[in-house]
Subunit: 361 residues, 3 copies
């Protein structure tokens, strides 16, 4: 239950730097590699010769060479050559539209004809020198929608991340969820509170006092298929909060790209784009390390929640105000999935349409 006609983050450039990468995305086993002129390609991870995974092979002259018997696969899914063989009649491999942008490799697991690169969301922080980025990747055994729920309801910080970013005041500030087209926004503002440990570190990292009251904000933005970008930050209290001038605040965007592997497992690309001290690489590293530790606290919860849900298929979950972000995001996804199905049904119907017969009397 995920849209296939959409751009997902597939991997990061370092994952294909030395050798091809086999990765299953939306149920499709793909191999990613850097081909001709350094352009990334993605084809089915299945050698048409004997079914070996092409990801166990290597790249030569911009083509993928099967590591079993040397079939040379092109980025277009056609076999280029094979030692001692005429390959013209070889069956074609499925290929997938791929784009490299913003420091990520993006893939479109569905119909390639629809894969418009302009549909990749603009990510200002990835291009602007005023920002710094650090992140990582987790493989988690849960439905991608459980991770969207998680990120659209940050009250969990108080419980799952009690010692770093959680604080009782989150529970006390009800969030406001709004939907505009396909974007779902859940915002929470906390005023005149003391910053929790992670944000004290961030304040110090921006050369700001960490022992005075702050205004804190969390603005979660879901966009389909499964991107959750969260504006987070603290400003010394009384300077306008979210709108405070840069010298009073430490602010970032929590970056979450959630890529379904199967119905119940995901590749979770997490990170933080920071809008202060972008040149401070040590700060980037220490934030990345801190975030990695914090975000790993969600794993057991999500995986065991997933197993509980599989064991109790008949139980309805609650949809409280704090869940509005997740609930609305799922509605957007349902619309996307329904639209995709209709389009496919239409295609099938039109391909079976009876030909019109001209009748003359």
């Amino acid at each position: 239950m995920y849209p296939k006609n959409a751009w997902y983050v597939a991997c990061t450039p370092d994952e294909i730097a030395d050798k091809p990468l086999g990765r299953q995305i939306c149920g499709e086993k793909m191999v990613f590699y850097r081909g001709h002129e350094g352009k990334v390609a993605a084809v089915e991870d299945f050698c048409p010769h004997r079914g070996a995974p092409l990801s166990l092979g290597y790249v030569e002259n911009g083509n993928l060479v099967c590591g079993y018997h040397g079939l040379v696969m092109g980025g277009d899914g056609k076999t280029v050559e094979m030692p001692g063989q005429r390959v013209r009649g070889f069956p074609c491999n499925k290929t997938f539209a791929v784009q490299e942008r913003y420091g990520f490799i993006w893939v479109w697991p569905g119909d390639q004809a629809l894969a418009d690169p302009a549909l990749i969301h603009h990510l200002e922080w990835a291009e602007n020198d005023e920002w710094a980025y650090g992140g990582g990747l987790f493989h988690i055994q849960c439905d991608y929608r459980l991770m969207i729920d998680n990120l659209m309801d940050l009250t969990h910080e108080t419980y799952v991340h009690a010692s770093s970013i959680g604080q009782k005041e989150i529970d006390e500030a009800p969030p406001v969820t709004t939907v505009e087209g396909d974007e779902v926004v859940t915002a929470r503002h906390m005023e005149n509170i003391m910053a929790p440990p992670f944000w004290r570190m961030a304040l110090r990292g921006n050369n700001l006092a960490d022992d005075v009251p702050v205004d804190r904000w969390q603005i979660c933005r879901f966009t389909p298929p499964s991107h959750v970008l969260i504006e987070v930050g603290v400003a010394h209290a009384g300077n306008g909060g979210y709108h405070a001038a840069p010298q009073f605040k430490a602010s970032s965007i929590v970056v979450d790209f959630i890529t379904p592997e199967t119905e119940t497992s995901i590749w979770y690309f997490w990170g933080m784009a920071r809008h202060f001290q972008p040149q401070d690489d040590a700060l980037t590293a220490s934030i990345r390390e801190g975030q990695g530790k914090i975000f790993s606290e969600d794993l057991e919860m999500l995986e065991r929640q997933q197993r509980n849900l599989l064991d109790h298929p008949q139980r309805n979950l609650l949809k409280l105000n704090i869940d509005a972000g997740g609930v609305q995001s799922r509605r957007v996804l349902e619309r996307w999935i329904a639209r995709e199905r209709e389009a496919q049904a239409g295609l099938i119907a039109s391909s079976h349409q009876p030909q019109q017969v001209e009748q003359r009397s």
Copy 2:
């Protein structure tokens, strides 16, 4: 195929001393914790909010707090409160009758209305200062009835536990099985034999010579649902054996509480209640260690027997005289299970009974 309307050992107090314990019993996922006034409670391990396992949470003011978004669950299965929420309409969680007694937490996985604490068997050794107890817990992948079979036929000691409690004389003394109501007793008496290593240690522990002939006994008592208490001991030969005065013997009760997790896995609580030198804690520890090693020898056998039986569902097993204890125990269980089903069928039938229509002529 286990009775659900019965008291099973769920856990020991140390397992819930620091945090809640999630444990599946008779197919039900439960969370155990010490609630109000230190009373143990057991509720479904499923948060009504989003399905997270409550066992990942913590206890506060006698209630269980979900570790995901802070829902506060009461021991009655009702949500007590949740930050920022009105909880009156929240669905109830299943709860389970629990009793703490004799150093164990007991649970009744079935109909709570039938859970009479008086049905927990009296365990004299657990209350009387003349006895000492030590034990442990194994998690084993086998049908609970295979463990009952194991314990009701101690001829396996000669083979599985050859170096500790086994001896050829066990095979040579045919056991006698009797059934009285729901209790099945299989007794074996061996006279004028040399004690095997474990019992030599026990004799020395009771300041008795270990190099003289002894009379040895094993009296296995099964009571449903799955308790096997085995009176075992040796006495210097010629002093009355089982009935010998305390100064001539070393005697104990092997304690086995077998709690089904699923149809093919169990929580096995084993231990030994000793009726000599009860104050000698070092002896308790050394007996516990010895018993742990000996009983762990059964694990591979039982798990591989289970797999063999699953692979050969059509094969009938033999029911020899030595198997009488297990065979009779299974008959008692079948009666219990049948009774439980009839009661349930009756309930369903009565709830569907057509209303009587008054007819007047």
Copy 3:
């Protein structure tokens, strides 16, 4: 999809030297042990008493003793005795025809009546002092036919074993496949090439220069059910290649006995029979170690190929000239399997044949 009426390698003598060996072969769980007069026996690994695996027991007086309750199983599948029991009525265990020959234990998993020891292939290298042998065993999760394919198409050496036995010239010398009865032979000859690292070591081991051009050959011989013996070697160029006199060459037979465990897993007995310096045990050891490393390179490829094929059941694989050896071997196997089915169907039919009724008028 494997013949059951055939001789497979079950194990090596060292595997049953100290205790019985439980091993599943062609779907049958068997226990192998050395019984009366040292003769190897194989019976179902299932104790007729309570289903325990007999392989957890021990051998006494040439019989297998169950390690659970002491049932004594004979090599004929009949219970010999059991402490305190009359065993005449005990059900029989299935037994399997076994032969010890050529340093291997061979088993016939099908109908014992058909198990003619004369059907075991003659292995000259195993009996002749001019040869030395070393080998090992791998447990691999793949259909046995994928391993046959692998061994009948050695172009994979160039890719999978690039640093040891692979070389580009293999790809350039097209193989010739011939079928004679049930034997399939795929031969490749390469002339006037430099030997790859493994063969340089072999040349040095036979006191021959390793830096001069050689002729190299690979002659793969498949015989059903799943034996692949490959004549391999190099000779100093211009001395007749395969037919060169012994002083010019280093030649061996790669030995592959592939025994199905299930439809998708195998016991793979690999080794090398060497026709030079047979007394040099250090050479045997170093070749064995080298071969073990090289052959382990195939494991990941085969297991991931297997998973790929299971995931894409609808995809047809290619059958190129290099695949002819595997393709022809599969044809032989299909004939064997069909014949086996027909024989079985015939047996069933004849047992259901209506009795002839004599009619007199």
